[in-house]
């Protein structure tokens, strides 16, 4: 305990120098501003901004990069809420209720609760990292392919809960998402699968391209058809910050989301990606009236946003304690550390304690700064919604094009967002929802990889999935959730038959 306090104290001494506060501030603000551009997610933002840290000392550079990371993540949520475009997988859930709230004139409340929830989650996660980083590393090592497979399967089952329309259609969309995730060269045998002979499909469909298409472009197309709904967005502004009632509704979701996110973030196999919608599913299950979800329920923003942020923070644990990047953003951080001559790994803590503890302390400073920067900016973002839509959407269109182009400097990828835009538009006309599709896409890929890896390692023995208590438990949960989620729909359709 004494160690914990003195270490944190040491960290704050590093993080709170004028220079490092300044760098953290610049990082947060630049990250937010770039991250808010539709089509430019955290990965693209960090990759773009990496060079501006070259001239700094390693501690300063990493503090700034971490700031950019939180900033970009927060900026991404803002875009998800305001214009219904998720910058990365974890923001998909935020679009569901966040954008609905914006449509009801409660954009400010949604943004506010997202900022506050993120701050609470960030504080908790920072303390977790400081206190438990080392012992938690063990948990990361316990998770192997069979455990990840079980986790992802459970996630897919939870994804059914996300939909607010027909369960059948939601399942169909999840399956289509999984199918899309199998496009590309087979990871094991190197055979080309469903690439139609196109080079850019070799490594599979890029998440950003798919999300920008089925969410961003499709949303524009839908809005163009629908003059009334989008005018609601710009006519009513409502209150700017969450009120007492909002806080009361959000307190528990924030707490639960924080814990879920902190746990899943530790897993180096990109567990953080599950956090927001595990939280969403949980809130929907716990709610007295689940039908409010998808129609602007504040719990549907507060919980997932907190889970997202705490997961984003604790995903630094595998990086800092093992040197293993759990996701693409952390891989960029590894690159950044390497450029600054630091070898990421277990020795960072002992060899460069100022960097280790300074970075942890700066995480909290960064979260505080985001809150301070963002609360006053909410008014500005909300006012952005007053820009006439016929001017707003061409701007979004251009930002999407630039953002997608910048991923790989590939014009073809830009054309693909148009294709996915048309797909997204058509499926929504047929009554399908894009969110389960995206989640199926993200989890499906991880699921297949780990399934096959587990079987390779067990030399084809299916028992490997039940042999480990963790994967057995997760699979059991998946089965239970599946049965439970079918029950109401069975009951409901029976009721319908009876009432008719």
């Amino acid at each position: 305990m004494m160690d914990f306090v003195s270490n944190l104290g040491f960290g704050f001494a590093v993080a709170l120098t004028l220079k490092n506060i300044g760098l953290c501030f610049i990082g947060c603000i630049v990250g937010t501003l770039v991250g808010i551009l539709p089509g430019v997610g955290p990965i693209a933002t960090i990759a773009m901004l990496l060079p501006i840290t070259f001239g700094l000392d390693p501690v300063g550079a990493l503090i700034m990069l971490a700031g950019i990371y939180y900033g970009a993540q927060y900026g991404g949520s803002t875009t998800a809420i305001l214009v219904n475009i998720p910058g990365e997988a974890t923001a998909v859930v935020t679009t569901l209720d966040g954008h609905q709230m914006a449509k009801q004139g409660r954009a400010g409340v949604a943004l506010g609760i997202a900022a506050i929830g993120s701050f609470v989650a960030g504080t908790f996660a920072t303390l977790t990292i400081a206190a438990l980083a080392k012992p938690l590393t063990g948990l990361a090592l316990v998770f192997g392919p069979s455990e990840y497979f079980a986790l992802m399967l459970m996630g897919l089952v939870l994804a059914v809960v996300l939909a607010h329309g027909s369960v059948l259609k939601a399942i169909a969309m999840i399956l289509v998402g999984i199918l899309l995730s199998t496009v590309g060269v087979d990871i094991e045998t190197g055979q080309d699968r469903m690439t139609l002979g196109l080079d850019f499909l070799y490594d599979g469909i890029d998440f950003a391209v798919l999300a920008m298409g089925v969410f961003g472009i499709a949303e524009i197309l839908r809005n163009l058809d629908n003059v009334e709904t989008r005018d609601v967005v710009r006519q009513t502004i409502g209150r700017l910050l969450p009120g007492k009632e909002d806080f009361k509704q959000s307190a528990m979701p924030i707490a639960r989301g924080t814990i879920i996110g902190s746990i899943l973030g530790i897993l180096p196999g990109n567990g953080a990606v599950l956090a927001p919608f595990a939280s969403y599913s949980l809130e929907k299950k716990l709610a007295k009236n689940p039908s409010r979800f998808g129609k602007g329920a504040i719990e549907g923003v507060a919980g997932p946003e907190s889970a997202n942020n705490s997961g984003a923070q604790t995903s630094f644990i595998p990086l800092l304690t093992l040197g293993i990047p759990p996701n693409a953003v952390m891989a960029l951080m590894v690159g950044a550390m390497t450029i600054h001559g630091i070898v990421p790994g277990p020795l960072v803590m002992t060899n460069t304690p100022d960097l280790f503890w300074g970075m942890i302390a700066s995480m909290w400073v960064g979260n505080l700064m985001l809150l301070i920067i963002n609360l006053p900016m909410i008014g500005m973002w909300v006012r952005l919604l007053k820009v006439p839509y016929q001017l707003m959407f061409p701007a979004i269109l251009m930002f999407c094009c630039i953002g997608i182009f910048s991923i790989n400097s590939e014009p073809v990828q830009v054309i693909v967002i148009a294709v996915f835009g048309l797909v997204g538009y058509s499926i929504s006309k047929l009554g399908f929802e894009p969110a389960p599709l995206l989640l199926g896409f993200v989890l499906g890929r991880l699921m297949e990889e780990n399934f096959r890896r587990a079987l390779l390692m067990s030399r084809g023995d299916m028992m490997t999935f039940i042999a480990s208590p963790i994967s057995a438990t997760l699979l059991l949960i998946a089965v239970v959730v599946l049965v439970v989620s079918f029950m109401p729909s069975l009951r409901k359709s029976r009721d319908e038959v009876f009432t008719e």
């Binding site: 990759a47 490594d203 180096p268 093992l322 590894v334 890896r453 390779l456």
Partner: protein
């Protein structure tokens, strides 16, 4: 009417920009705009880190920024195709390395490009060893332990790799073939997640690039059993594979610059000088050597013959081993 006005407005912008230009780009004023460095891997990897580090230094020496453009599609093939098609004016440089230059033409059935004829070499920048590693709890305390177990128990060993066709995969396959060992390959996406499973004891060993595993070796969590370069590397307390009974075995990662075929020799030379000067800076030297990397900086001819030899070697190996990507 309106259309014409818009058009004129656009033309005005055009004119104002093109008015600035007169002479065609020549070697004496090269470079007059940013130089693009195409990296055939996604941002954040080991190659990317080296590329960005060197690009920063070269940019300073050239007096124009060197902008890194990542494209990791199809094992780097898309990047090398793009670079090959770019104008040979010195403004497009490809970060050349093992995969796209000498392995992929024999690995990917669909590859149409011959990188050896499509590019003019500039210089080999660095050579970096791969390391054979096991977890600290592994029963194999030495490289010969591992090989002996593998020989006695065909199909029992499991190894991870950074991906199908990656340097890490091919280096292992080559070793297994030379030693006559059968082992199960578990491909990952990148070295990080693979190392995680080796660390957790789910796989037996892995051959990986030095930077990816350096932190874990320094902390003692992973143990280096051997390095894949001909000679030992000071950074690692381990013999080379070559001296451990496989004298023909060598498999190092290397990084260099190449430019599209037909780039004027004067521009090529200017770029080479700037690169070698940048490599000489303490900043770059220290960081790369700390990872066990050897800086080279040779002539285009030396680089070309080295790539030719490598290409032949991989061609033969891949054909006999029957590894391909369709």
């Amino acid at each position: 009417m309106i259309k014409r006005r818009v058009l004129t407005a656009m033309l005005a912008v055009f004119a104002s920009a093109s008015f600035l230009g007169r002479a065609y780009a020549q070697s004496d004023n090269y470079p007059s705009r940013p130089v693009k460095l195409i990296v055939p891997y996604a941002a954040g990897g080991g190659t990317d880190a080296i590329a960005r580090l060197v690009a920063n230094g070269v940019g300073e020496k050239l007096g124009q920024s060197m902008v890194v453009e990542n494209n990791g599609t199809a094992g780097g093939n898309v990047a090398s195709q793009l670079a090959a098609k770019a104008d040979p004016d010195g403004y497009t440089v490809l970060m050349a390395n093992q995969g796209p230059m000498v392995v992929n033409p024999h690995l990917f059935e669909s590859m149409k490009l011959d990188p050896l004829t499509a590019f003019d070499p500039v210089t080999l920048i660095a050579r970096s060893p791969l390391v054979v590693v096991v977890s600290k709890n592994s029963p194999y305390k030495s490289f010969s332990d591992l090989m002996a177990f593998g020989k006695a128990n065909p199909g029992k060993l499991t190894y991870g790799s950074a991906g199908n066709g990656s340097a890490s995969h091919l280096a292992t396959e080559m070793l297994l073939k030379m030693a006559g060992i059968q082992a199960v390959h578990v491909p990952y996406k990148g070295a990080g997640p693979a190392l995680n499973d080796m660390l957790g004891g789910r796989g037996d060993f892995m051959i990986t690039t030095a930077p990816s595993v350096l932190g874990l070796i320094d902390s003692g969590d992973m143990v280096p059993l051997a390095v894949t370069t001909k000679e030992r590397v000071k950074r690692f307390n381990a013999p080379s594979v070559a001296e451990s009974g496989y004298p023909d075995y060598v498999s190092a990662a290397w990084y260099g610059f190449v430019v599209p075929k037909g780039t004027p020799a004067a521009i090529n030379e200017k770029l080479r000088k700037a690169t070698i000067e940048a490599m000489g800076s303490k900043e770059i030297k220290d960081r790369l050597e700390a990872e066990g990397t050897t800086l080279v900086g040779d002539s285009p001819a030396e680089f070309a013959s080295m790539m030719k030899a490598e290409s032949e070697r991989w061609k033969g190996f891949l054909a006999t081993a029957g590894i391909s990507i369709k």
